[in-house]
């Protein structure tokens, strides 16, 4: 276990470096210049030149090296940068550093993503178990239908419908901003639906298989009820595929919530990322990608550790 952990942690910087390099190349290949702004504010040419030199926008290789050194903390260790993990200033919002933008947006996106995964797990496992215990039954057909809806309906449709119904019509939830738990409920629910649907299908399939297995038959022979067999014997094994899905899914829920963030005006990191790509705000794009690829690797690691714990045979 310790060896696995150490090995994976050593892998982390290499994976992130690879992601950085690929993103960097792609970002640089996009035509346009982050310092030109057709809508209003155009700094005088001499200031543009000075900024280009300052950020090495005239020299991609220097940018690549310097940004990497600052972002990774190497520059800080060497004493050439005052802060560790300095992701630089945003090129389009010169008053804000990328670190500041991520610090305000990331906790919100993470909260949204985590809440969504919690809902997805609860709903998905419940629906999967109910359906998997009696395949073809009424409950199974109903949950299957719902999961198809959850997977196929785009989130802006579900989101807008929930918004109009529960926030505007019944005034049960506030809209916009993040105040308490209630303000995140609707966006988290919207975001969770496709995940819940997928989890329910994974669990259902696993349950059907497990309930037909030898050990389930043995358990039934012991005199356990159908429910006991399902909960104590079948569920654990049926849950394993969900666990391996959970790592990347949580990362996707936390990063891929752009549409939900837009519909519900949740001030997360998704909007910054998409806008940064459109505006070619390279530092912001790189910063968000770096933070998220690190998170993704760490989530997958956490899932692997849990996997070994749930099913010690894996080790």
């Amino acid at each position: 276990m310790t060896r696995m952990l150490l090995f994976r942690l050593l892998q982390l910087p290499l994976i992130v470096l690879a992601v950085y390099t690929v993103t960097f190349t792609l970002a640089w290949m996009v035509p346009g210049n982050p310092l030109e702004n057709p809508e209003g504010r155009r700094p005088p040419p001499e200031i543009v030149a000075a900024m280009q030199a300052q950020y090495h926008l005239d020299d991609p290789l220097a940018f690549y090296g310097e940004y990497l050194a600052k972002a990774s903390g190497v520059a800080w260790v060497m004493g050439t940068s005052p802060h560790p993990f300095d992701l630089g200033p945003s090129l389009r919002q010169p008053d804000w550093s990328v670190n500041e933008i991520i610090e305000t947006g990331a906790p919100v996106s993470m909260r949204l993503g985590i809440s969504a995964m919690m809902i997805a797990l609860t709903v998905g496992i419940f629906a999967g178990v109910v359906g998997g215990m009696r395949p073809g039954g009424l409950a199974d057909v109903a949950t299957q239908l719902l999961s198809i809806v959850g997977i196929s309906l785009p989130s802006f449709v579900i989101g807008s419908a929930l918004l109009v119904l529960f926030a505007v019509k019944f005034r049960l939830f506030p809209i916009g901003g993040v105040s308490g738990v209630e303000s995140l409920f609707l966006p988290a629910l919207t975001l969770s639906l496709p995940f819940a649907a997928y989890i329910s299908r994974l669990v259902r399939f696993g349950m059907i298989e497990q309930m037909r297995s030898d050990h389930a038959r043995t358990a039934r022979a012991k005199g356990l009820s159908q429910r006991q067999v399902a909960l104590h014997h079948a569920l654990k094994n049926a849950f394993l595929p969900v666990l391996s899905y959970l790592g990347p899914a949580t990362a996707v829920a936390m990063t891929g919530s752009f549409v939900v963030e837009k519909v519900f005006a949740v001030p997360g990191i998704g909007q910054h990322f998409v806008e940064a790509v459109l505006a070619k705000d390279i530092t912001l794009v790189m910063g968000v990608v770096l933070v998220y690829s690190t998170l993704l690797v760490l989530f997958n690691l956490a899932v692997d550790v849990m996997y070994r714990w749930v099913d010690p045979r894996i080790a």
Binding site: R111, T122, S160, L246, A265
Partner: protein
């Protein structure tokens, strides 16, 4: 595969162990959720909640540029004087009194002794000198540096410094410059500013400003956010001289809470970019007793759809910019409400009440009506520019160089029809550029009316008549009127719809071939700047309370004269008017300039005054002002709770 785990359970593995294991990821997620909530705790509701479409780029007053940013600036900072939002007259700010010399060139401001920064420091003349110097340094890259050029020596100082920095850079590329070099250049800069620029602190509380020409609207400029003071000591902690470029570099940490020190009615205490900003009443503000609301939350919601839904769900007091999808339909509901109560409203308004006050006394709207949306006339005009250059970009003679052709096109446009059928926001028809009633003492100027018959006569006078009865006008040689290239930006459907409607009007009334050409915002702007159009969509919002903010656009040399309109007679008229020292006579002469422009020359075709659409419930929110400059000051806003509102209708 199953036998192993079953075996373990037979050997005494807890029967609930598997359930616990299934629950474990759930618990981990819960812990993570609690941790992120702890890292980012929610704030209690503020007294006022305002929703804006975009966040401020900066809270550095000298670098502010956008309307919502300037509005925030005027809430956080206080300049020498301030505008009274009700009628846009000047009221004292940090300066208690002021006087001007008889030639109008020297202004002396006496600062109040009780004006304080939010950390308790006194606001002194040094803060103003420092702030205004920042605005005049190219290093700051301030959008409104040009406004300060009216101060004696300021423009020369700005260009001198820009040139010195360019030379410094050139030197650096030959041999590396040192911190010493940058320091020496900075010291020269400081002494040049002291010696040549007409901004002087006579003592801690007396400021003298010398202008290069009399400027009757100088006080209006002083009320503008970029003229606000900054707390020198706190800003200087974030600046340093760059040895490589010689520039005074600043990092923007001082513009964010908790470092930001301000002198206005409110201080920002939380600012989360593109998320929200929280303003708390500044306890040290000299007039704090007047400010009704303790705290203001400005939330950013970019999606216009969600904005309106958020307002509809309650909890938002003011939406200053309603998205185009909703405006027309909801405004129609407002009109229904007003129509039903028209008599009462007219009677109340005749007694001098503002519309909001009248609405407040009326019973709640019925089904299908609403009172929480309102279109207010703004300080801007929507227009289409004629390309007045003698030739088109490909060298052919340009018919719009002829005054008669421009007049014909202007009179053939039925603006009321455009407003009723295309824009549908109930705007006021405009025949001139300065919005009526926006500047005290400025007379009403009438431009050309809609008159299709006269329009055709003007076109015929200019030599364009349908000689071959093919439905299109031709010149004397029988050559058809060149196809009019009508350019618009695709940034909003409004421009496309207006362009299409105008095309049909001109084809129908004048018999000219018109083709519309939509371009995205950037390419549209490039084409406009290059003069690559016959008629192009335009629009202008005034910057300060003087007609010249609109009229100077037509000056031959003005940077925003997209029409290429060059008329020395007009330039001379404008100069003469600007030289007039008597304020009333000056406004009269500026009105003559405008009359000359729009009754005779028509370099552009005004369509309507812009409106800004707000959402707020007048029975809940007090303090919204209807003066076209739409100076809305948060420190005058007050939310009346529903119970109180019911009790005192």
């Amino acid at each position: 595969m199953g036998s192993l785990s079953v075996g373990r359970e037979f050997l005494g593995g807890g029967s609930y162990a598997s359930v616990v294991k299934v629950l474990a990821p759930f618990l981990l997620l819960l812990i993570a959720l609690i941790a992120t909530t702890y890292l980012d705790p929610p704030l209690p509701r503020a007294d006022l909640v305002i929703v804006e479409r975009s966040d401020c780029f900066t809270l550095d007053p000298q670098r502010m540029s956008y309307q919502h940013e300037i509005r925030r600036g005027e809430t956080i900072y206080e300049g020498l004087v301030a505008l009274n939002p009700k009628d846009c007259s000047i009221k004292p700010g940090v300066a208690q009194r002021w006087s001007t010399s008889s030639d109008g060139l020297v202004w002396t401001f006496n600062l109040r002794r009780d004006a304080k920064w939010s950390n308790g420091d006194l606001v002194t003349t040094k803060d103003f000198v420092y702030a205004w110097r920042r605005a005049l340094l190219p290093d700051t890259a301030a959008d409104y540096s040009g406004f300060f050029f009216e101060i004696e020596g300021a423009e020369a100082f700005f260009h001198w410094r820009a040139k010195a920095l360019a030379e410094f850079n050139a030197r650096n590329s030959v041999a590396p410059t040192t911190a010493e070099d940058a320091r020496a250049l900075w010291e020269t800069t400081e002494s040049r500013f002291r010696d040549f620029v007409g901004i002087r602190a006579l003592d801690e509380f007396t400021l003298e400003v010398r202008l290069r020409r009399p400027l009757p609207y100088f006080l209006d400029l002083c009320a503008f956010a970029p003229f606000s003071p900054v707390h020198r000591a706190s800003v200087e902690q974030w600046t340093h001289l760059d040895a490589r470029t010689g520039r005074m570099e600043q990092s923007h940490g001082w513009t964010k809470p908790p470092h930001l020190i301000s002198n206005g009615p409110y201080v920002p205490t939380v600012w989360r970019y593109k998320r929200d900003m929280r303003l708390e009443k500044n306890a040290y503000y000299w007039d704090a007793a007047r400010v009704p609301s303790q705290s203001v939350e400005v939330r950013v919601i970019e999606n216009p759809n969600t904005q309106v839904l958020a307002f509809g769900a309650g909890g938002v007091d003011w939406l200053p910019d309603v998205g185009p999808e909703y405006k027309t339909e909801m405004l129609a509901q407002r009109r229904l409400f007003e129509t039903r109560h028209a008599e009462t409203i007219h009677a109340d308004q005749a007694r001098g009440m503002e519309l909001d006050e009248c609405i407040r006394t009326l019973p709640s709207p019925m089904f299908g009506e609403r009172r929480d949306i309102r279109a207010l006339n703004a300080y801007g005009t929507d227009f289409f520019s004629f390309n007045c250059r003698p030739t088109t970009p490909n060298g052919a003679p340009n018919p719009f160089h002829q005054v008669g052709v421009r007049r014909a096109f202007a009179m053939a446009a039925d603006k009321q029809a455009l407003i009723d059928r295309v824009t549908r926001l109930g705007e006021r028809v405009a025949t001139t550029l300065v919005p009526p009633g926006s500047i005290q003492g400025y007379p009403l100027v009438e431009g050309l009316p809609f008159d299709a018959t006269r329009a055709r006569a003007e076109l015929a006078n200019a030599g364009w008549v349908d000689r071959d009865n093919d439905g299109f006008v031709d010149d004397r040689d029988g050559k058809r009127f060149p196809t009019v290239d009508l350019l618009y930006s695709t940034a909003s459907p409004r421009y496309q719809n207006l362009a299409l409607a105008l095309r049909d009007m001109w084809r129908r009334e004048l018999g000219v071939p018109v083709e519309v050409r939509g371009k995205d915002a950037k390419l549209y702007k490039e084409d406009v700047k290059k003069g690559n159009f016959s008629i192009a969509r335009g629009g202008w919002y005034g910057d300060y309370g003087d007609p010249s903010t609109f009229l100077e656009l037509q000056r031959s040399t003005d940077g925003n004269n997209d029409r290429g309109y060059k008329n020395p007679a007009f330039d001379a008229m404008l100069d003469d008017a600007q030289r007039e020292t008597d304020p009333d006579r000056r406004l009269e002469r500026l009105a003559e300039c405008e009359r000359f422009l729009f009754a005779q020359e028509v370099p552009l075709l005004p369509i309507c005054s812009y409106v800004t659409v707000y959402m707020y419930d007048p029975s809940r929110l007090h303090g919204i002002r209807e003066h076209p400059r739409l100076e809305q000051h948060f420190d005058e806003f007050e939310r009346i709770d529903a119970a109180e509102a019911e009790a005192s209708p």
